[in-house]
Amino acid sequence: MVKVNKAARQLKVLARDPVLVALIVVIFSAVAIFVVYPLVKVLIASLQVRGVWTLETFGQLGERRLYRSAIVNSLSVSTLVGLLGVVIGYIAAFVLTRLDVPGRRVLHYLTMLPIISPPFVSAVSILFLFGLNGVVTKQILGLQDFSIYGFHGVVASQVFTFAPIAYLALRGVLASINPVLEDAALNVGATGWQTFWKVTFPLSLPGIASAFLIVFIESLSDFGNPLVLAGAAFPMLAPQAYLEITGSFNLSRGAMLAVVLLIPSLTAFAIQRYYLGKRQYVTVTGKPSASASRIVSPPVKWALYSIVVLFAAIVTLFYGVIVIGAFTRVWGFDYTPTLAHFAYVFDVGFNAVTDTLIIALITTPLSGLLGMIVAFLIVRQKFPGHGALEFGSILSYAVPGTVVGIGYILAFNSPPFVMTGTLAILVLCFLFRYVPVGIQSGVAVLRQIDPSIEEAARNLGAGTLTTFRKVTLPLIAPAFFTGLVYAFVRAMTAISAAIFLVSANWNLMTVQILNQVGSGRLGVAAAYSLVVIGIVLVAIVIIQAGVTRMTRHSASVKV
């Protein structure tokens, strides 16, 4: 009763602002169609065989060993990758935020590099180094029967791909722990070791758990690394679902595997968001916590430092190998320098480059704006269905790309929505898949901004949209930047959902990279990878410049 009254009141107030109403309705329907509907389609497909409701496909899980081992393999890989990723990420975050060590800036950028490249570039590097014709395995060690394919290959590659994500998350967590707390513990006689385990670690524990779950989700949903490195003897869920659909054209089995993939991802997401999200101890004091940690002795400090340096060195090695590989005629046999791979990319394969760029250029501003608008609606507006919109719009963050891809071909291949093979389907897929990061950072920044600044704009005569454009957006510029960069990077590097949606008309560089790897042409794959990384770096610089211009005066303003 009270609820109904409240909704009625909110509607009454909203009705005075038709633009806002229209905006909310459009976003609601879009989320329903492009986030929820495909998932429902996947669920339905997994429960139907030739139009008849049945649990038969799920019965396959018990009958076929292939499926069972895919589940076990996927879960064990993502658990291990989650653990290793968090350990490396925590050490790197601790060393680079709390210790006074040389080269912090360079190490920071090196550690982050994997984030802006396609998620399976490290898989290509690993093939260069440890593959059949790998430099290390064949040329240096002369191993004959070593195979990189399988559990160890996937884990190694994913750790390098996803540890940086844990690093970024934990960096924020560690930087927000006031060093005075550590000093206080030391002051009452605790040793450095005790201080770490009794103060620093417990304070960062929710952050650690949250980072683990994020890496777990990323690893579980990863498609490229398993496809390249798992091999036939080591089935995993995401590539298996893909093979069911593109190889055996068995939609209901593909959908069933997608549902199986979805369950642990959503569970991890729910824990991360609704349980841990409320347990982060952020001690915001307004004072910069610049002071270096005194809880580690010099030997420990340098030991930790060398781990970070080693990680950065391996990252450098991986990318170095890609650079060299891109200019090498035939890796493993003929190391003469060549521009042939680039010539291929810029000639035969150039369509994929332009297609990818067009898609990224359309998706990025849309995604950035949508993210900020939704954040604005969530934080500043009251309307019925508020919570549902928030949930729906960030839900896709937790849905593995493979599931989304299958959902999109199921949902948009037949009336009322026929879009397969078009540019639109790729743009919409990327838009709704990658907008949650923008939304979440927009929400975080907006919550810290005094609402009376926006009220002042309203008070002076600005309508909702004008207020958003002239006041809110400039104020949340940092989040806008994050949203834009994330959308662009992801649009350039995405593969798991996109691989279901590309067509002869619209192709992507990442798909090309996988195809080239598949046909053994690692040089071309490396050349494509370099082009992607180059474009992303240039784009970040351009976006940064654009966002800075938008907020000339606020560069030095804290709000």
Binding site: I453, G461, H553, S556, V557
Partner: protein
């Protein structure tokens, strides 16, 4: 341009998160008329609903009941950006990404006036508020007082129908507060804009207002000029909230007299109680005079506190609570603790409080 404001039966209930069955009545049945060009202050302790009332006038809160009129126009359904009631925010709410000039020009630009006109108008108002020469600075390069002036300039440049202030001076230090108070009052009188001003500082309210609205717990306790509120408070709460007060219990006698502490005083105003009843008298500390010999009530000095411009005495009077007395001026006699004194008070300065 500017218009009178009429508030009728205004209520605001907020959802109570602790007990959904009992909403918080932040504003309760408020009636108020503000005349054209008048400055009315909402005064009351923290949490009494001043800000909520002001925000309903601005359109940021939806009244649960009641009406708001600007002139003859009912404003309830007018969104905040169409109300033409500009506000000076407590936190200033200056746009941090815009220069001072652009902050002040913000509202004018939305009205799509010509560049020239905007420039002229903004420059004028910046001069009026003492901000000349700062037009191109960023808000972070201003002191608190200057930021306050920007907030003021941004509101008055719109030539609004109504000006709203939410504790505009509460973030300033005492000296600056006194100065800005005078500036705001002078500007408001010069421009003649109907104004509603929120504060919890009684001195500020007394010095700036044409009339004061004293609120408590969402309810209006009294509306009146500063003088009326001070000398004829409607009840004990108002009397206590504004200035210092002695509350003396007395018995009503025949023919408009009261008996207190052994003295009988004939009052000027008629008493609303019948003889024999007990009433509470309000006696302000500065209306009482002390003398070693002359007076109508006997007392003993208990405590003396010299405060520079005045001396404060606590006088013990048999049969009543101790009296607070303030003496000032060069002719005031001085006493020390333990002296016996006689108190006198002009009947016209005694106010009988309504029960």
């Amino acid at each position: 341009m500017t218009e009178p404001v009429r508030i009728q039966g205004l209520c605001k209930a907020f959802d109570n998160l602790d007990d959904p069955a009992k909403p918080v009545l932040a504003v309760n049945q408020v009636n108020l008329d503000i005349n054209e060009g008048e400055l009315v202050t909402l005064l009351g302790p923290s949490g009494c609903g001043k800000t909520t009332l002001l925000r309903m006038v601005a359109g940021f809160e939806e009244p649960t009941e009641g009406d708001i009129f600007f002139g003859d126009r009912r404003m309830n359904n007018v969104p905040p950006n169409r109300r033409d009631a500009t506000m000076v925010f407590q936190s200033y709410a200056i746009f941090p990404h815009l220069s001072i000039f652009e902050n002040v020009a913000f509202g004018l630009r939305l009205k799509s006036q010509s560049r020239k006109k905007i420039e002229k108008h903004v420059t004028e108002v910046l001069a009026m508020t003492g901000l000349s020469g700062m037009a191109n600075r960023s808000p972070t390069q201003l002191s608190g007082g200057q930021q306050q002036r920007v907030a003021l300039a941004r509101a008055i440049v719109m030539e609004p129908r109504v000006l709203l202030f939410d504790e505009p001076l509460s973030n300033l230090d005492a000296k600056l507060r006194d100065q800005m108070r005078i500036e705001i009052r002078e500007l408001q009188q010069r421009l003649g804009i109907t104004s509603l001003y929120v504060t919890h500082d009684q001195v500020e309210a007394m010095s700036i207002s044409d009339r004061i609205v004293v609120m408590r717990g969402g309810v209006v306790e009294q509306v009146g000029t500063p003088r009326e509120i001070y000398s004829q408070p409607a009840n004990r709460f108002v009397a206590e909230f504004i200035g210092r007060a002695n509350f003396i219990t007395a018995k009503v006698g025949e023919a408009n007299t009261v008996d207190l502490a052994g003295a009988r005083i004939a009052l000027d105003a008629p008493i609303a109680a019948s003889p024999g009843d007990s009433v509470t008298l309000l006696v302000r500390p500065e209306v009482v005079t002390l003398s070693p010999t002359e007076g109508i009530i006997n007392g003993t000095v208990r405590r003396v506190m010299f405060l520079g411009n005045l001396t404060e005495y606590l006088i013990e009077v048999p049969g009543t609570d101790p009296w607070l007395v303030e003496l000032s001026g060069p002719e005031a006699p001085t006493f020390t603790a333990g002296d016996t004194v006689r108190l006198s008070l002009p009947p016209s300065s005694i106010h009988v409080l309504a029960e």
